[in-house]
Symmetry: none
Subunit: 217 residues, 4 copies
């Protein structure tokens, strides 16, 4: 249709314009569909902003996701802005000095050491490791089972630093049954307005003395 052999430039121009307008129509239509989908999700109780973040992250590989989260956490931690959240394990891995020199390339270092706590980080001393070491996949199923059994998210038995902890969390979240079909509040934003002049400024509790003030010299 938009192929032109020995046509005059006028016909070519018209043809291009028509092509472009037709395609532009389709583009607008696609954009509208997207917009409506977000609207439906919003009506259904999900937070559009978070959904956008999720979509963007889904375009990355797991490794890239982890790296990004780790970097952000490291920078925030250094500035005292973790607001009460512990560092993700990937961040710990990056911060652990011994492994730095030789981990300059990605592949050699296993992104996470599921097993063999002896030689590297996971759970140094206090964290009594589960007597029998388990695979994260197994932990995930345990999490799913726990969710179905009505357990709480706090009942995750794995200690910080153990990959099974994350796996259990994921399983719990994925299988979690909400009572009925209402969307739990956990999925929705509570703060809508930036409270102008704070009041929850106190924040982390951990931040005492750590956070850098805006106007600090």
């Amino acid at each position: 249709m938009s192929e032109f052999g020995a046509t005059s430039h006028h016909e070519r121009l018209v043809s291009h314009i028509q092509d472009l307008e037709r395609l532009d129509e389709l583009k607008s239509l696609a954009a509208d569909n997207m917009k409506e989908a977000f609207q439906r999700a919003k009506v259904d109780g999900f937070d559009p902003q978070t959904l956008r973040v999720v979509l963007r992250l889904r375009k990355l590989t797991p490794g890239q996701r982890r790296e990004r989260r780790a970097l952000e956490a490291i920078y925030l931690a250094e500035l005292g802005m973790l607001d009460g959240d512990a560092l993700p394990d990937e961040a710990r891995r990056r911060l652990d000095p011994p492994s730095e020199p030789d981990r300059s390339t990605e592949p050699p270092a296993e992104p996470h050491q599921p097993r063999d706590p002896a030689l590297t980080p996971p759970a140094p001393k206090p964290a009594q490791p589960p007597l029998v070491l388990k695979e994260p996949a197994e932990a995930r199923q345990e999490g799913e089972a726990a969710a179905e059994a009505g357990k709480r998210i706090y009942d995750n038995p794995y200690p910080a630093g153990d990959p099974c902890r994350a796996a259990w969390d994921e399983g719990w979240c994925a299988k979690r049954q909400s009572n009925g079909m209402d969307l739990p509040e956990a999925y929705q934003r509570r703060t809508t307005k930036p409270p102008e002049k704070d009041g929850d400024q106190k924040g982390t509790g951990a931040g005492s003395g750590g956070a850098i003030e805006k106007g600090a010299a």
Copy 2:
């Protein structure tokens, strides 16, 4: 300067144009300065993308930051995309059903319960709480001391779920002495290219069976 009393509309137009051009000049200049600052930071080894995220987050209150991170983590967990990171504590708080009904408004619920593990979430059973309960601020100082003493980030003694764990992390990160003045690799991106066809797709270890495939019906 750009005030006009009984001036002709021509003079007013000229005046407006001149004002706008002058201000536009200043705006461009400011934008350039910003750009250069990012460039300097990049040359210094910091990741510009992460810095941008940090700047954006710094415009929020700690409470808003925590909420955002929690929401994202919850959505990601449900989709099996945590990639090996455990849920942040704020997410756990939101997911814990008992507190849902009555925490519909922000203020009544203390954003995080540093103390009194008896009545709510923190570390239900396994997590043997440090015998003497400490304040996060104290834990932060411990973290700083640990960093100066050359301890590793894995030496954080507090268990998952304890706010002191985060506080210790922050202290450690803030005081951490790099050997010399080089920027540790932890602060820099390693993956530059989306490897097209993966290879680190395996990802989380926890994701087995959890992640939703792109084309899944």
Copy 3:
């Protein structure tokens, strides 16, 4: 497919994500097609930037297009930036004072008077070419003098194609005295709404048989 009756919130989230990803795919695809079409047009020798402008203008009604061009020309003329182009006729119509008071609404005034040159602008004293050829700078001063003498913008004596015509226009616009200090209507937009279903679609009068319809094969 993406309809959910009494489904769990987990299924709903997954469903929303899948919808969004599918639609996002379509959106990207549409954007790519558009991009390629522009590329083809460029390879064919057309200027992409101009094509974009044309596409944008084609989304307006002829009346809106004319208004926009007239406003721009008027502002530019007043700033001496016509660069040798004469004012478009629509701009002259706007600048002609007698019709200002009663043309506050668009429809009453026929966008352009094709016929009956007796009562309004077209071709005043049919362009006796100045016997002595003048420099544009001189013509500009004549325009300024004419404006101060209360002449109308239609009194420009120079014929089409003569650079002096543009120069006279610029001079007239720059010196023009509005009665008092109010801003003439010529400087403000009249159409706010795209009248949805036209009515001024008829447009140019010249377009008869010329304009390409949106859906034309």
Copy 4:
């Protein structure tokens, strides 16, 4: 202030963040000032959208402005979208075939020939107004016929201000036969680079004494 010699990376990070936040503040402030200036202009009766266009055009050299306007007019004419405006003279110059081959570079061709009507376009047979008033549609067909007969764009017989002039132009452009099937140069941009420090700044010829200088008080 933001210079760091042998400082720790932590201090450097903090320093960068502070720099960036300070500069960001300034940037926001500049943007706000700009916004307010537009607001004032709007309150004063000027059209913000048009002002933006004017500001953008003022960043171009007169030659670039003319080229852009000419290109847009040519494309629009060919699509029958001139909406009653005649082609600007620069567009005529570009469309006039004899000068095409040797005007491939900008400078040799004087942007506009103010004097000496003998050798080039201006005012061919000085516009004897058609004795019988015609409809634009008819004029359009005349233009088409003229184009097919090999007439030049300058042969448009209608005077400035006559809607038929625009109609004739449109007809001519739409039917114009390029020699063979190559795209005439008139459709392509000639200036690619903003010549940094001008030289075609002289511009309009009409602008003498009219254009407002950037830094004028």
